[in-house]
Point group: C2
Chain length 351, copies 2
Amino acid sequence: MFDGPFPSDIDPAERRARLRLARSPRIGPITFQEALQHFGSARRACRELPAAAEADLAREDQALARAGGRFLVLGDQDYPASLATLADAPPVLSAIGDTGLLARPMLAVVGAREASLAGRRFATDLAAALGQAGFVVVSGLARGIDTAAHEAALPTGTVAVLAGGIDQIYPRQNEGLYRAVADRGLLLAESPFGTPPIARSFPRRNRIVSGLSAGVIVIEAAEQSGSLITAQRALDQGREVFVVPGSPLDARYAGSNNLIREGAILVRDANDIIGVFGKPQVARQSTDKPREIAGDSVTAKVLGALGSVPTAVDELVRRCQVSAATVAEVLTALELEGRLERHRGNSVSLI
Amino acid sequence: MFDGPFPSDIDPAERRARLRLARSPRIGPITFQEALQHFGSARRACRELPAAAEADLAREDQALARAGGRFLVLGDQDYPASLATLADAPPVLSAIGDTGLLARPMLAVVGAREASLAGRRFATDLAAALGQAGFVVVSGLARGIDTAAHEAALPTGTVAVLAGGIDQIYPRQNEGLYRAVADRGLLLAESPFGTPPIARSFPRRNRIVSGLSAGVIVIEAAEQSGSLITAQRALDQGREVFVVPGSPLDARYAGSNNLIREGAILVRDANDIIGVFGKPQVARQSTDKPREIAGDSVTAKVLGALGSVPTAVDELVRRCQVSAATVAEVLTALELEGRLERHRGNSVSLI
């Protein structure tokens, strides 16, 4: 199994069973969790239920590895914490690229495929400013707003969530962007490798876009648009929804203006968003430079609490008295600098 | 005195004294009220204070009459009820045109002089729809949004509040509109006849625009614009503020979007406003047809409570158990149909 060397809180056999269970017939995200609850483990669920064939899973695993990807399984240490708490958390995600981005604070930028020039320019400026402020920009690799947001955030960090399998480049015209995100950012997909995107994949994908993110920024959403579904999921998930207003004479803003009337935060520029969350402590200055840590005092605290003996991350969070997310950021930075080693049971040590 | 035949709750000598007091040096709207309070009557205040010369007032009176206008004095029956309750109610207004409009529900439409074509079109459509729904449209006769709103509302009823004296056509290019409003709508001015508009007249005028109105609709307000002052006055006066959103890339919407962030109601079309107030019961279908009464049951109630003996309007309101504004509308309609006579002490009788 290719994705062995990545740390997980679950043992390899149970992790493998979770992958099989997730790929089993009629097992969606919610039934996956119910099966885990009911049977106590994925291993037992796979024995009791008509589970996916091990051979099929091995084929997917190999195809994913050949594409340079790996699985993130619910329970893995680098499975995004923001998704793990959702009732319909994806049991498995395929990932190609820099999974370290998932430890940083994320914001989604979504909007119309048929965006206006002004809308795309706004998305570009906004995504660049959010990236500079330290946020990872999440979107759906669609034409229009998504494309503008990903492109502007490539230097600072961007995550594209695909509706089909992780090998399915959709829309086809975004092949160049797909490859750029794979190289410099992160591609994620819930659908199994090789699965073409179908209509109902898109709203399922949208819940991941919002679920990953602390907030969703909507730019040019018509009525009954996919962006409105993302905004609705974001509200269901307790995320902040930010909306760029537009003329009521422009149908591309009909959904946007409705959201503002319903209480979404009107956005004039990136400061209206940064003002709500504050600047993240770990900010990447450029993709070419080594990652720099803004919050030196937090890093010093974490370093002070660490040694050559593995320490549980939970214990670290308690000792440092900063948020789990901040500790995770600092640890990711140390890891990238080659100063940190990860161990079983979500524990870490200094090298 | 030309404006004798109009009904007032105050006796002619006191009314005349109020006019003099209002025109006296260093008497603003607030000191006017304080003087009334302190001295018990305008007559006594004029004896005790350095009051305006009777001759000067007579000259203004004559000039106003020659222009086809008359005074509305605080306390007159047709002095607008919405203004009368303000702490800084104008003690005197000059009026040219149909003062009956003041008995109908009013909404202000304000915005940029340098409005975009889209903004002007929005103002036109909105003012026409509000007029059709029975609202009188109030604005300031400025270029841009004001002009579009007045023009669209001419067939259904519009009030223009001027910053200078009522004879001061400003801006000059709106002379045609000024004359059309005088003929088919109503011109109002707080500044004495002949006074040119100066910078500080405009915010004072704006408080009347908002004060007359149940709500203020802002279309294309830049930062630090006069429309924002009107919106602020509206909020101070407890009026609803409605704002048409626009792109944050367009500076003409910077103030507008700020207002929405501060809690103003985002407007997509006239229904967003009509939905808040409901349709007035007295709706004018066209300027050429006789006024029609939508709420026949209310009219029946009012007619049932009236006879040839004068009845106080307050008493009528109590008996009919409908709002004072609704009763006022029904009475205005009956008056226009020639079926109602008004008497001293705010009482009415059927003819």
